[in-house]
């Protein structure tokens, strides 16, 4: 027979136990997980602005190269091609501004904000880890290494697949845009040199198309890698680009 005080003592729960006992109806317990702030707000905003702009540019760009079926009626009643081209040019300028802002932020932001703008080609360690990561994707090693920001392979992918390709698209895009604005425009003054490389702008159009498809393949790989790593690497990926925080699950 226990006295009341002893019973009370037994049923008293301290803070540590509380955490262990708290749980949802399924009996799952909340766990403290190491979380790091990786992607600052400007990086996340630039990411999503670029994503939507690039999606818009791909759809409208494709329709500029292969227009929709002919519309009937008076020419002044419709502006189908005009709106598609306007959307393309507007999204292009948005992408360019966000890209520029992102470059500026690389000078002020944390170390992760600089990752996509360079590849440390001089670092032996870096290349070793690129191959290690490649081996992880080739199912040759059992567990990937942990990184707070991009892993080295991802850094190579982001630098070429995003930074270089998007820069190429912005440059060729403005060069093509300058054809409409004329040779006295700032677009032509800044980007007209593209036509010194390809004197016939027909070639610039073709390269701009190929650049679009290069970005399509980048997006496929980028999204797949993000989802896969989120599951396989035991760290958050998809929510990180929304909240900015990376959580390590064990």
């Amino acid at each position: 027979m226990m006295d009341a005080a002893a019973r009370r003592a037994e049923s008293r729960i301290d803070d540590a136990d509380l955490a262990a006992l708290a749980g949802d109806v399924a009996g799952d317990h909340a766990v403290e997980r190491p979380t790091l702030y990786v992607y600052e707000a400007p990086v996340r905003i630039a990411h999503w602005v670029s994503a939507f702009a690039i999606f818009t540019l791909m759809v409208t760009g494709y329709l500029i190269g292969s227009p929709l079926p002919t519309v009937s009626g008076e020419a002044y009643d419709t502006f189908v091609m005009g709106y598609i081209r306007f959307t393309h040019f507007a999204a292009g300028q948005v992408l360019a501004v966000s890209f520029l802002a992102r470059i500026v932020w690389a000078f002020f932001g944390n170390a992760h904000s600089r990752q996509i703008f360079y590849i440390p080609v001089w670092s032996k360690q870096f290349w070793y880890e690129v191959f290690y990561e490649a081996a992880w994707y080739a199912f040759l090693v059992a567990k990937p290494k942990r990184y707070v920001g991009h892993n080295p392979l991802a850094q190579v992918g982001m630098f070429t697949g995003f930074t270089l390709f998007v820069a190429f698209m912005i440059i060729t895009g403005f060069a093509l845009y300058s054809e409409g604005t004329g040779i006295d425009s700032w677009q032509h003054k800044l980007f007209g040199w593209v036509f010194s490389i390809w004197p016939n702008s027909q070639d610039v159009h073709t390269w701009h198309h190929l650049g679009m498809w290069a970005l399509v393949t980048f997006v496929i790989v980028h999204v797949y890698a993000a989802i896969r790593e989120d599951i396989m690497s035991r760290q958050s990926m998809i929510s990180s680009i929304v909240s900015g925080e990376r959580q390590f699950r064990d």
Binding site: G65, P67, T78, F139, F195, N200, H209, L210, I220
Partner: protein, 363 residues
């Protein structure tokens, strides 16, 4: 070919052209050059006072379409006046002299007007086999060109041949036909591309040089800005149909009858810099798009090697199979997509297998 001290005006009057017609020509030229009302009197003044500039017109590997266009310069007076205005000392296709007599004029002009004459080149020199694919006056054309270019004031590269190479330079270019600016690098060169260039553009360029005593302002690619700074597309009278999204889908469909935009039929207007949609051809009668056919981009570099004239998207031949950028891109994206799916499948299988292993180890 008259004495060089003659002014243009005296030659023009000698040809029986009235002063009234002369002024008509001046104002027409000023207008076509976009120079404003005062320029007409300046042109007249220049033609009345300046001595004629000797022009040597040479023919390399070409089809003479530039000459054919030139002699059809729309305003009759333009044709008469220009052929008289310049002192056309040598043009082997249309000159009266022949043989040694003709060739002697070259030497004479070179000595007498050192650094003062204009070298107008129609066609280009083939460089392969020491230039043997184009023999002119018993010598490879490339030698003649280099010799005459040495003492020229400036060079006018007539047409797509002299400017870019044109069809004789099409892949694989067996004769190694080479545009003028790749052969002559120490002289100012004005490119007047087109196959052929518009007659009024040709006479306009010459008139500009005569009037102002200097070369017209050139763009990045060496073409006179006044005629080549805008695309066919920018001034096309069918542009409203382009913006509206009204296209000819196939030849002889309803849209073709209505005169809709030829963009989908491979019109190269959006990438072609020339004055066709403003100056037009044959005295402003028409131009290709107006007659229902897309622009083939004949004034653009490499237009002869860029796939079909009737495709919107350019065929890329570097891949062995002939596909356009979108077809190649779709294949690439499809391949990457398939690779991703396969990779995901392997990942899933691996993961399941590992889990099962873990499970068996646990028990």
């Amino acid at each position: 070919m008259g004495a060089a001290t003659e002014t243009f005006y005296s030659v023009i009057r000698r040809q029986g052209i009235t002063r009234r017609s002369f002024h008509k020509f001046c104002s027409l030229t000023a207008t076509s050059l976009g120079l404003g009302p005062l320029a007409a009197s300046r042109i007249a003044n220049a033609l009345e006072t300046k001595p004629r500039i000797p022009v040597i017109w040479m023919h390399g590997l070409e089809c003479t379409c530039c000459s054919e266009s030139f002699i059809r310069s729309a305003h009759p007076l333009v044709k008469d006046a220009v052929l008289s205005m310049i002192s056309l000392d040598y043009d082997d296709t249309i000159m009266a002299a022949a043989g040694h007599q003709a060739e002697a004029i070259l030497e004479e002009t070179r000595a007498k007007y050192k650094g003062q004459y204009i070298l107008a080149v129609e066609g280009n020199p083939p460089l392969n086999e020491g230039g043997m694919f184009c023999i002119d006056g018993g010598k490879p054309f490339v030698e003649k060109l280099k010799l005459m270019a040495e003492d020229a004031m400036a060079i006018i590269a007539w047409g797509a041949c002299a400017s870019w190479g044109c069809v004789q330079a099409a892949k694989p270019n067996p004769t190694q036909a080479t545009p003028i600016d790749k052969v002559i690098t120490n002289k100012p060169i004005i490119k007047v591309p087109g196959c052929p260039p518009i007659a009024e553009v040709m006479t306009g360029v010459i008139t500009y040089i005569l009037t102002f005593g200097k070369l017209p302002e050139l763009d990045r690619q060496g073409r006179p800005k006044m005629f080549y700074s805008q695309r066919i597309h920018d001034k096309c009278y069918r542009r409203s149909h382009f913006d509206a999204g009204q296209f000819v889908e196939e030849w002889d469909d309803e849209s073709a009858r209505k005169g809709y935009c030829l963009y989908k039929m491979g019109c190269k207007g959006p990438t072609t810099y020339n004055a066709c949609s403003t100056v037009r051809w044959n005295g402003g009668v028409s131009f290709p798009i107006q007659s229902g056919h897309g622009c083939i981009g004949c004034s653009e570099d490499g237009f002869w090697d860029k796939g079909s004239f009737y495709d919107r998207l350019t065929t890329i031949k570097q891949f062995g199979i002939e596909k356009n950028a979108d077809q190649i891109g779709m294949v690439a994206a499809g391949a990457v997509g398939a690779a991703v799916v396969a990779h995901a499948a392997v990942t899933a299988v691996k993961r399941l297998a590992t889990k099962r292993e873990d499970a068996t180890q646990d028990t």
